[in-house]
């Protein structure tokens, strides 16, 4: 065992195999099991990564003449030694078959949906128009925090939310309303720490006012079922709903002081 571990050829082989296992299985399947958000790596990306690993291993091995000789030795032995004839034969068949299989994987007809890259929180504009009225978003705070009774604002927000938002975003604000399953992309989960606490109230205001149709291209506006709520709700109703979202989930909004852009 130790003999193999100290030999450059087997070191290189172990690095290559371990990298493949990491890219193919650990990132996509093991990480989610231990609670880290992750997704399977596309095969084209794996091929790219593996090429980089292979080049890296070869560079390292050939950097030192003695190491390079030792690295090449098992390969050479297998190619020339008469007593390695059987192994040679097996490899001469197995290697082309592997290449043929990889080639087939690339050209075989695919019935998968095309991959779409979608920015979940695209950069917001500096201003928006609400039914023709221009509103500056930069530095904008929720006006209802400074006026009227918070209890009443929250009651309004809750009424608006349950009447209008529940079908998709759900009673639990978890994005699992009774229509959620019919929509792709799925409705936002407000209980996720990746949403509300990362966003200023002005950002949430923009997303509600302009909805799916107001997304920039990288947000795939043609897919989103989020209505442009300026067609249905008044400004104060939207601000009250935002108060309710943060209150009911217990998250504080991101403030402008710590704001460094949404990119």
């Amino acid at each position: 065992m130790k003999r193999y571990l100290s030999h450059p050829f087997w070191q290189g082989a172990i690095v290559v195999v371990a990298s493949y296992v990491a890219f193919e299985y650990v990132i996509g399947y093991v990480l989610p099991v231990i609670g880290v958000a992750s997704a399977p790596v596309p095969s084209s990306v794996i091929v790219e990564y593996m090429l980089i690993v292979l080049v890296g291993v070869l560079l390292y091995m050939s950097a030192d003449e003695e190491r390079w000789q030792r690295f090449r030795e098992p390969i050479r032995e297998t190619m020339v030694q008469p007593d390695r004839r059987t192994l040679r034969g097996i490899l001469m068949v197995a290697f082309p078959v592997l290449i043929g299989w990889l080639a087939y994987e690339r050209v075989k007809p695919s019935y998968a949906a095309p991959a779409t890259l979608r920015a979940v929180h695209p950069a917001p504009p500096n201003q928006l128009t609400f039914r023709g009225e221009t509103i500056e978003l930069t530095g904008l705070e929720n006006p209802l925090r400074e006026e009227g009774s918070m209890e009443e604002h929250l009651a309004v927000g809750k009424r608006i939310y349950v009447r209008n938002c529940v079908p998709c975003h759900g009673d639990l604000l978890d994005g699992q309303g009774h229509y959620a399953q019919a929509f792709n992309p799925v409705p936002a989960d407000f209980t996720s720490s990746g949403n509300l606490p990362q966003l200023t109230e002005s950002y949430v205001f923009w997303r509600i006012v302009k909805g799916g149709p107001g997304l920039p291209r990288e947000g795939t506006p043609w897919d989103s079922a989020m209505p442009a709520w300026e067609t249905i709700l008044e400004q104060d109703e939207i601000w009250a709903t935002i108060l309710y979202l943060y209150d009911q989930t217990g998250f504080p909004p991101r403030t402008w002081e710590e704001e460094g852009g949404h990119e």
Binding site: V80, M92, V107, A113, D171, A182, P213, P227, T231, Q248
Partner: protein, 520 residues
């Protein structure tokens, strides 16, 4: 969650006259009120009468706790539910309604809220705690049990409401109403995943024995006591119900695979020609994006199958709809839906002097594609496109049949008279089967499909007898349809070539290494 002191004092004052034995209950009710006000009141109402601010857009309506009529129980017909029954509904939700499960609540919070719910009705305080029925034991399923269950289905007159095929299309279906006089659907037994009391054989057996109080669904106990059916036959009936369809909603697959037809395309939507062709299920939701919205749609999903022969593409679309609209038998139903449901600003269909609706809208469905094959990932807006990017539509309704159109938004549809798309639809026992066929490429305006390239597709559906017209429809977002390309030689040639080249390269390497060794 702890009760805030202020609320506790107020409630203590209210219950000051109660005997001391109930003090623990009062604390629980006070704690339950906090949970209830936070999560439940907006639908069920502050006084528990099922009249919260959002209730009017829900059918069925939220439970009225003051009436204490609970559908999902393990107790006899007309009896109160056990605490475990109420907990079951809170934990699991009621599929097919707007009531979700509440995994965010702790056991203690659920216990407290149950105490508070019961305090809305005076019935719980009277008499002993309700006891579950004895459900006996399941004699087992299998083909013989299912056959016996099918007979019991008729003996028990299940088909009068649920229909012969279980799709909720029985002759009584249009007349059904709940205890409030609101229209209520006979359950579609082919969609077990929206059974609000659970979809296992045991669940269905329990529902039959207890009945669904407040709805027309009776308890089977009377029929058992009078000897119409035996206890075993009710179990067999449950097994028969379980055979109507899958328990879970079919998994969503994003790409409809349209295979190449061996020996010609089917000429219609008939079962024989389409048997064995893979079917893809797509859930639909109410159109809740633009006013007027549809909060309680009839069509909650459809099935799509496709075949092509290199020249034409044929699709079969099936969806459940208990009414073959327009149908005067459903006039009452249409009127009741119009009256009961918040139409979100849509104009209600007027009634004539005899009380019949002045308009009986047709059933309709449409299949939506981009007008041209999109470049990159860009697509038209999923809700029938917009002014900048139109969509290409295959339309069908039960009055004018199949056609094609250009859509530039939900209220902008322009027929394409030249389009060669053709087809027909038939309605049988609560299910529409639509067959459409068109050349893959067309000379007229409209989308040319490209074999092997996924094309975006989306769906919309209307049930005329539920007054679904215009924007009040069921919708989906974008999915894909893919016409299988002809078997290509590259699939075979490329790997073979790669193998040959690698093999030859390896041979050369080995030969050279061996030569060099000999030379040495």
């Amino acid at each position: 969650m702890r009760a805030s002191r202020g609320t506790g004092i107020v409630l203590l004052a209210l219950f000051a006259a109660a005997p001391p034995a109930l003090a623990g209950q009062e604390d629980a009710a006070a704690a339950g009120k906090i949970v209830y006000d936070r999560w439940c009141a907006e639908c069920h109402g502050e006084t528990g009468q099922g009249d919260g601010s959002a209730a009017a857009s829900m059918l069925p309506r939220p439970r009225d706790f003051a009436q204490a009529l609970y559908q999902i129980r393990t107790t006899g017909s007309g009896q109160l539910p056990t605490d475990a029954d109420i907990r079951f509904a809170i934990e699991n939700g009621l599929p097919g309604t707007t009531m979700p499960g509440w995994p965010n609540l702790t056991d203690q919070e659920i216990d407290d809220v149950i105490v508070y719910l019961k305090s809305f009705s005076r019935f719980f305080a009277q008499g002993p705690a309700p006891e579950p029925l004895d459900f006996g034991s399941d004699p087992g399923g299998g083909p013989a049990a299912i056959e016996a269950g099918a007979a019991a289905y008729l003996t028990m007159l299940c088909e009068e409401c649920h229909g012969l095929s279980g799709r909720g299309d029985g002759t009584s279906a249009p007349t059904l109403e709940d205890w409030r006089g609101l229209p209520i659907r006979a359950a579609d037994l082919t969609e077990a995943w929206v059974f609000n009391g659970g979809s296992s054989v045991e669940d269905m057996h329990t529902r039959m024995l207890t009945g669904l109080d407040g709805t027309p669904m009776p308890s089977a106990i009377d029929a058992m006591n009078s000897g119409v059916v035996s206890p075993d036959e009710v179990w067999q009936l449950a097994h028969y119900l379980a055979s109507f369809g899958p328990r879970e909603m079919p998994p969503l697959r994003e790409v409809i695979r349209v295979g190449r037809a061996e020996g010609g395309l089917p000429a219609d939507g008939g079962e024989e020609a389409w048997a064995g062709v893979e079917a893809f299920h797509f859930p639909l939701s109410g159109q809740v994006v633009q006013l007027p919205r549809n909060f309680a749609p009839t069509v909650d999903g459809l099935w799509v199958q496709g075949l092509h022969d290199g020249n034409d593409v044929a699709l079969r679309v099936q969806w459940n709809d208990p009414s073959n609209s327009p149908d005067p038998n459903w006039d009452e139903w249409q009127n009741k839906i119009t009256a009961a449901l918040d139409l979100d600003g849509a104009e209600a269909i007027a009634l004539d002097s005899a009380g019949a609706p002045s308009v009986r809208p047709p059933d309709a469905v449409l299949l939506q594609f981009p007008f041209e094959m999109p470049e990159g990932t860009d697509r038209p807006y999923f809700l029938m496109g917009d002014a900048r990017e139109p969509v290409y539509l295959w339309t069908w309704d039960s009055e004018t049949g199949v056609g094609a159109a250009r859509g530039r938004g939900l209220d902008s549809v322009e027929p394409l008279a030249e389009d060669p798309v053709a087809g027909e639809a038939t309605w049988e026992e609560g299910r529409w089967t639509l067959y459409v066929r068109r050349p893959i490429e067309v000379e007229s305006e409209g989308l040319d499909f490209v074999e092997g390239t996924p094309t975006p597709i989306a769906f919309q559906a209307w049930d005329g007898s539920s007054a679904e017209v215009g924007k009040r429809s069921s919708v989906s977002t974008w999915y894909y349809i893919l016409l299988e390309p002809p078997a290509s030689s590259t699939v075979v040639v490329t790997p073979l070539l790669a193998m040959l080249l690698t093999g030859a390269f390896g041979l050369v390497l080995v030969r050279r290494a061996q030569d060099r060794r000999r030379d040495r």
